[in-house]
C-alpha cells in the first residue's frame, strides 16, 4: 500500500462519520481554533447501585444510633469508621468506611468532595408529595437499566438517544485535532456519550490492539491487508453490513493513528492497584494514558466514561462491600496521582455516578434498590474536604424515606450535582441549559463544588 493511500486511512473519523450518517468533523491538520487550556471530565459509573450510605456514615452518637437502627446487621462498626472533618458543619460528624482509606486521604488533603443524597428527579419532591403521588417522579424508579439511562441522559422528555456527556463533547468536538476522541468510553459503549452528530466511541482498557493478520508489512500480510481493506471500505446496501464495516474502519484507523501515539507516550510511573476482577483500575489507567498524550493528540477538551460493576448487593453485602469500596478507593486515588504525574490534576475532574442508592433496611444479608445516594468528586479544581447538599435523615419511615424500607428520596438532582462542574469546564449558561434541559425545575446555583 502506498503512503498516499495510507494517509487516506488516517483521516480519523471522517470516513466513519460519513459512513454512519453522522456529521463529518474534518480532522484538523493543526489545531487552528484550539482552546488555550485543557480540561476533562471523567465519569466513574458504579454499576448496580452503590450503597454509599455505608461509605459515608454519621459518627456522632445520635447520628450513628439512627444509622445503626436503620441498617441493623448491615451497619459498619462505629469504631472502624475513618473520621473526616468537613469544612461545613451540619451538626453531625462523619466517617468513611475503613476499606476506603485512599478516599480518606484524598478528602483530608482537600482533593475530594462528597455530594450528599443526589439522584434522578423530575422536580424537587417531599416524602408526602411522593406518597400522595402529587408530584411527578422519574419513570421506572428502582429498575437498574432505566435509572442508569436516566442518569446518563437526564433528558426526560425526548427519549433516550442523547447522553449529557455527548451533549458536552459535541460542543467542543469541532475544535479538536481528533474530533472522535472528544468523548471516550473505556471497554463498552456508553449512552452517556451519545448525541446526534457525535459518536459514542469506546476504546479498550488494554490500549489499541493491532489487527495482527492484516497490519502493514511484507508478504502475505500486505496481500491480506489489501483484500481485507477492500472489503471494509465498500458501500454496503445492507445496513447491518454497512454498520459493521464502518465500525471496523473506525477501529482500524484509531489503532493505526492513536495507537502509535500512545505507544510513544512515556509510561506512567504511578502504580495502579489490582483490578480484583472489577476492571476499574485498568480503565482509569487507560484514561490517564490518553490524558498524558493530550498535547500530542491535539486535544483541549475531553470527557471520559469508565465503569465498575458488582454494586448490586442483594446478597453477601457485608462480605462484598469492603472489596468494592477498597477497589474503588484505591483506583480513584491512583488515578488522581497519575493525573498529578502528568500535570493534569487541576485540569481533570473525576466524579462518581450510580443508578441509585440502596435500601437502608436489609433483606437478611443484602439490600434492595433505593433512590438517593452520595457521590464523590475528585480533583485539584474541586473545593474538596467538604460535604455538599444535605445529608438525609436515616430514620426508617422518616422524613426522607419514600416508604418503609429506607429508600431515601434525593434532595439534590443530577442537574444540580453536575452544574458547577460544567461551569468549570467552560460551558456558558446557554450551553449548560442545552446540556441540562430540565434545569428550570431546580435551583441551579444550589451546589458549587468547584474552585
Amino acid at each position: 500500500m502506498t503512503s498516499m493511500k495510507r494517509r487516506e486511512f488516517l483521516k480519523l473519523g471522517a470516513a466513519s462519520l460519513i459512513g454512519s450518517g453522522l456529521v463529518n468533523f474534518p480532522r484538523l491538520s493543526f489545531a487552528q481554533n484550539a482552546l488555550p487550556d485543557y480540561k476533562a471530565l471523567v465519569c466513574v459509573f458504579l454499576h448496580g447501585g452503590n450503597d454509599a450510605f455505608n461509605l459515608i456514615v454519621p459518627t456522632d452518637s445520635d447520628g450513628y444510633a439512627e444509622y445503626s437502627n436503620a441498617r441493623q446487621n448491615l451497619s459498619v462498626e462505629q469504631s472502624a469508621l475513618l473520621p473526616i472533618s468537613p469544612l461545613t458543619n451540619d451538626g453531625h460528624t462523619y466517617g468513611l468506611h475503613s476499606a476506603a482509606s485512599s478516599l480518606h486521604e484524598l478528602f483530608n488533603n482537600g482533593k475530594m468532595a462528597v455530594m450528599a443524597n443526589t439522584g434522578n428527579l423530575i422536580q424537587p419532591i417531599t416524602r408526602d408529595e411522593y406518597r400522595n403521588k402529587s408530584v411527578p417522579v422519574p419513570t421506572e424508579l428502582f429498575s437498574h437499566n432505566n435509572q442508569q439511562d436516566q442518569w446518563k441522559t437526564i433528558n426526560l422528555t425526548s427519549g433516550q438517544n442523547s447522553g449529557w456527556g455527548g451533549r458536552v463533547a459535541s460542543i467542543y468536538a469541532s475544535q479538536q485535532t481528533e474530533p472522535l476522541l472528544t468523548g471516550l468510553s473505556v471497554n463498552s459503549r456508553s449512552l452517556w456519550l451519545r448525541n446526534s452528530g457525535f459518536l459514542d466511541l469506546s476504546v479498550s482498557a488494554d490500549g489499541f490492539d493491532e489487527y495482527w493478520f492484516v497490519k502493514e508489512g511484507e508478504g502475505y500480510e500486505n496481500k491480506r491487508r489489501t483484500a481485507y481493506l477492500d472489503n471494509l471500505y465498500r458501500e454496503y446496501a445492507n445496513q447491518f453490513e454497512q454498520e459493521i464495516a464502518v465500525t471496523n474502519q473506525r477501529t482500524l484507523e484509531l489503532v493505526e493513528s492513536v495507537g502509535s501515539v500512545l505507544q510513544n507516550t512515556p509510561p506512567l510511573n504511578t502504580v495502579f492497584p489490582e483490578d480484583n476482577g472489577y476492571g476499574l483500575s485498568s480503565q482509569l489507567r487507560m484514561v490517564a494514558n490518553m490524558i498524558a498524550a493530550r498535547d500530542t493528540l491535539g486535544m483541549s477538551r475531553q470527557v471520559f466514561f469508565v465503569e465498575m460493576g458488582g454494586f448490586d448487593t442483594h446478597d453477601d453485602h457485608n462480605q462484598d462491600q469492603p472489596n468494592l469500596f477498597g477497589t474503588l478507593a484505591d483506583s480513584l486515588k491512583a488515578f488522581y496521582y497519575a493525573l498529578t504525574e502528568v500535570g493534569a490534576a487541576s485540569d481533570v475532574t473525576t466524579f462518581t455516578a450510580s443508578e441509585f442508592g440502596r435500601t437502608l433496611t436489609s433483606n437478611g444479608d443484602g439490600t434492595d434498590h433505593g433512590w438517593g445516594n452520595h457521590q464523590l468528586v475528585i480533583g485539584d479544581a474541586v473545593r474538596g474536604g467538604d460535604i455538599y447538599g444535605t445529608m438525609p435523615s436515616l430514620e426508617i419511615g422518616g422524613v426522607d424515606d419514600s416508604g418503609k424500607r429506607g429508600r431515601i428520596i434525593p434532595t439534590t438532582s443530577v442537574e444540580q450535582y453536575v452544574h458547577s462542574m460544567l461551569n468549570w469546564y467552560g460551558l456558558d449558561n446557554n450551553q449548560i441549559q442545552t446540556v441540562l434541559p430540565n434545569h428550570g425545575a431546580f435551583d441551579m446555583h444550589k451546589i458549587n463544588l468547584m474552585i
Binding site: 454512519s20 450518517g21 441498617r71 424508579l141 463498552s188 483484500a227 443484602g366
Partner: protein
C-alpha cells in the same frame, strides 16, 4: 456462607420441628385451556428446497451448516426437518462435564462448544442458547464453592433450558425459578419473611427481574409487542414498587437442598444442582396482592404461593409478545414486522389445541413464517441481524469439523477476544439489550441491532484477530499441535482450491447461503490468485481467513 451461620443462630430454626417441603420442580399446574378457536394458517407443504435455501435456514436453526445438514434439509424441506429435529433426543451438557478427567473452572463452555460443533439436535441447542440469553444466570455473580461445582451446575442449568426448549414455557419458568444457581444469582435463595424488629424485609431481586426480564417486561404490550399507551401517550407500567414488595414476600422460604446438612456440619458444599427446598418457618404466610391486583391467599405454603405466582405471571397477556419477539430477534431478524410478532405471539397464546406457552409450536411458527422464509419484512423495517460473536466462532468450528487430538473442546481465553461466553454475561440484562440501537441510520430509522452493543472500537481488532487466528493458525496443517488444541479440518477445501471458482462456490454455500456478493467474490478471487496454483493449502486457508472477517459473513440475512 455468612447467611448460613446466621441460620444457625436463628432461634426459630429448630431442626426437630421442621416441615420440609421439597419440590421436584416439574410443572405442577397444567397450562390453562383456552376455549376460543385458534387462528391457524395451513402449514407450508413439505417440499425439497435448494442447497442455498437450506444453508440459509441452517444459520437460523443451527450453529452453522454442514454439507450433511444441507443435504438432509434440502431433501426434506423445512417443516419435515424441523419435526425431525424436535423429535431427536436431547444432547445434555452435564454428562460431558462429568466425563472430563478433571473438572476445572468454566468446563460448561467446553460442553457448550462440543454440543454446538458435534451434536445432532442442533435446533434444540440453538434455541437453548437463546433462552440462556433471556433467562440469564452467569458464572459472574454466583459464589461457587469450587470449580467443579461451578462447571457441573452451570451445565445442569443449561440442561434445563435444553429440556424445555420444545416444552412449555410455564414449566421452564418454574424449573428455572427453583434452580439453585438462579436462586443464588438473583438471591431468592435464603430469601426470608420480614423480621420487623431487625428492619429485615424480603429480597425483591428475583421478583423484579423475573418480571422485567424473563416474562412480561416493564410496560403493557399489544399482541404485536408494541407498547400500549395511556390517554396522554405514555407507556403503561406493568407493575409498581408495591407489587414488587408483595411479590418479594411470595418468594420467601427457599434455600439450598442440602441446607440442613450444611447447618449441621455434615456437608460444606452448597448444593447448586438440585432444586431448592423450603424452610417453611421462613416463608411469609400472609395474604399478598400481586401482579394485576391478583390475590394470593393467606396460609399457603411456599410451594403453593410460588405455583400461584408463576401461574399469574405466565397468564399475563405480555408474556406471548414479550417472549415471542425476543425469540424471533435472536434466531431470525432483529426487527421483525409487528405482524410477524403478532402471528408468533398468537401461537404462544394458543398452539391450536388450546395450550398456552407451547414453545415447540412457537419455534416452528416463527421459523416457518413467510417473513423468515422469504427474508422480507414490512416497509418500515429491515430484515436480518448481526451474528453473535460466539455463534460465528462455533459456526466456523462446526462447518469445518473442528477437532482436537484429545477430543476435548476446552479453550479458556476466547471470551477475552469475543466479549462473549456461554452463561457468562456480566449481569442479568444479558450481553446486549434487545432494545440496543447503534447511532446513525439505525437510530434515525427506529431500528434496533442488539448484537452491535458488543461490537465496538474496543474489541473489533480483538475479534478480527481471533477469527483469523482460528483459521490461519489453528487448522489441520498446524505442525506439532498440542493434544488440546482445537483445529479446523480444511482437507476438503484444499482439494477444491486448484480451481478458484470451485473453491468459492463451496465457500459461498457454506458461509453465505449462496448470497456472496459479486464484489466479495472478486476481491477474494483476486486474493486467492496471488497464491501459486500448486499451493492449494495456502489458497484454501487464506481465502477462508479473509471470508470469516468479511462484513457479509458477520451478518445473517
Amino acid at each position: 456462607m455468612n447467611s448460613l451461620r446466621l441460620l444457625l443462630v436463628r432461634s426459630f430454626l429448630c431442626l426437630f420441628t421442621l416441615s420440609l417441603v421439597a419440590c421436584g420442580g416439574g410443572g405442577s399446574s397444567a397450562p390453562p385451556v383456552i376455549s376460543q378457536p385458534p387462528i391457524t394458517s395451513p402449514p407450508p407443504p413439505s417440499v425439497s428446497i435448494s442447497d442455498q435455501a437450506a444453508s440459509k435456514f441452517l444459520f437460523q436453526t443451527s450453529f452453522g451448516p454442514t454439507q450433511e445438514d444441507i443435504d438432509a434439509l434440502s431433501d426434506m424441506g423445512y417443516e419435515a426437518w424441523i419435526d425431525q429435529q424436535m423429535a431427536l433426543p436431547m444432547t445434555d451438557h452435564f454428562s460431558y462435564v462429568q466425563a472430563l478427567p478433571e473438572i476445572r473452572w468454566r468446563e460448561h463452555t467446553a460442553a457448550w462448544f462440543d454440543r454446538a460443533v458435534n451434536s445432532d439436535d442442533q435446533l434444540r441447542q440453538r434455541v437453548a442458547f437463546v433462552l440462556s440469553e433471556i433467562l440469564v444466570v452467569s458464572l459472574h455473580g454466583v459464589d461457587f464453592p469450587d470449580p467443579e461445582m461451578a462447571s457441573i451446575s452451570l451445565a445442569n442449568y443449561y440442561d434445563i433450558l435444553l429440556k424445555h426448549s420444545f416444552g412449555n414455557f410455564r414449566d421452564l419458568l418454574e424449573e428455572v425459578t427453583l434452580n439453585p444457581v438462579m436462586g443464588e444469582y438473583l438471591s431468592m435463595k435464603g430469601n426470608q419473611k420480614a423480621i420487623p424488629e431487625e428492619n429485615i424485609l424480603p429480597d425483591e431481586n428475583f421478583a423484579r427481574e423475573m418480571m422485567q426480564l424473563f416474562t412480561i417486561g416493564l410496560h403493557e404490550l399489544n399482541p404485536d409487542a408494541t407498547p400500549k399507551l395511556d390517554s396522554v401517550g405514555q407507556p403503561i407500567p406493568t407493575y409498581d414498587q408495591e407489587t414488587i414488595e408483595e411479590m418479594a414476600r411470595v418468594f420467601t422460604g427457599w434455600h439450598f437442598a442440602n441446607i440442613y446438612e450444611i447447618v449441621t456440619g455434615q456437608d460444606d458444599r452448597p448444593d447448586f444442582m438440585n432444586p431448592m427446598i423450603v424452610i417453611e418457618e421462613r416463608h411469609d404466610r400472609g395474604q399478598k396482592t400481586v401482579l394485576g391486583g391478583a390475590i394470593i391467599p393467606a396460609e399457603q405454603n411456599a410451594d403453593e404461593d410460588m405455583t400461584d405466582m408463576l401461574d399469574i405471571v405466565f397468564n399475563h397477556p405480555n408474556v406471548a409478545p414479550f417472549i415471542s419477539k425476543q425469540l424471533i430477534q435472536k434466531l431470525v431478524t432483529s426487527n421483525p414486522s409487528d405482524a410477524f410478532v403478532q402471528r408468533v405471539a398468537t401461537v404462544f397464546e394458543n398452539n391450536g389445541n388450546g395450550v398456552r406457552g407451547d414453545l415447540k409450536s412457537v419455534i416452528k411458527a416463527l421459523l416457518l413464517d413467510d417473513e423468515a422464509i422469504t427474508a422480507t419484512t414490512s416497509a418500515d423495517k429491515i430484515y436480518g441481524k448481526l451474528k453473535e460473536p460466539l455463534i460465528r466462532m462455533a459456526g466456523l468450528w462446526r462447518t469445518f469439523n473442528a477437532y482436537s487430538a484429545n477430543g476435548e473442546y476446552r479453550l479458556t481465553y476466547f471470551n477475552e477476544f469475543l466479549g462473549q461466553s456461554p452463561l457468562e454475561a456480566h449481569h442479568v440484562f444479558n450481553f446486549f439489550s434487545p432494545f440496543y440501537s447503534p447511532q446513525g441510520s439505525f437510530v434515525d430509522n427506529g431500528w434496533v441491532a442488539p448484537e452491535f452493543e458488543i461490537h465496538t472500537e474496543a474489541n473489533q481488532a480483538k475479534m478480527t484477530n481471533f477469527m483469523q487466528y482460528l483459521v490461519l493458525s489453528q487448522n489441520h496443517l498446524k505442525a506439532n499441535p498440542e493434544a488440546n488444541e482445537i483445529l479446523i479440518d480444511l482437507s476438503t477445501e484444499i482439494t477444491l482450491a486448484e480451481n478458484v471458482d470451485t473453491l468459492l462456490d463451496h465457500y459461498n454455500l457454506m458461509l453465505f447461503g449462496g448470497d456472496m456478493s459479486n464484489e466479495l467474490r472478486t476481491i477474494t478471487k483476486d486474493f486467492i490468485n496471488t497464491f501459486p496454483i500448486d499451493r492449494p493449502d495456502q489458497r484454501a486457508i487464506e481465502a477462508l481467513g479473509l471470508l470469516v472477517v468479511a462484513p457479509e459473513f458477520m451478518v445473517q440475512d
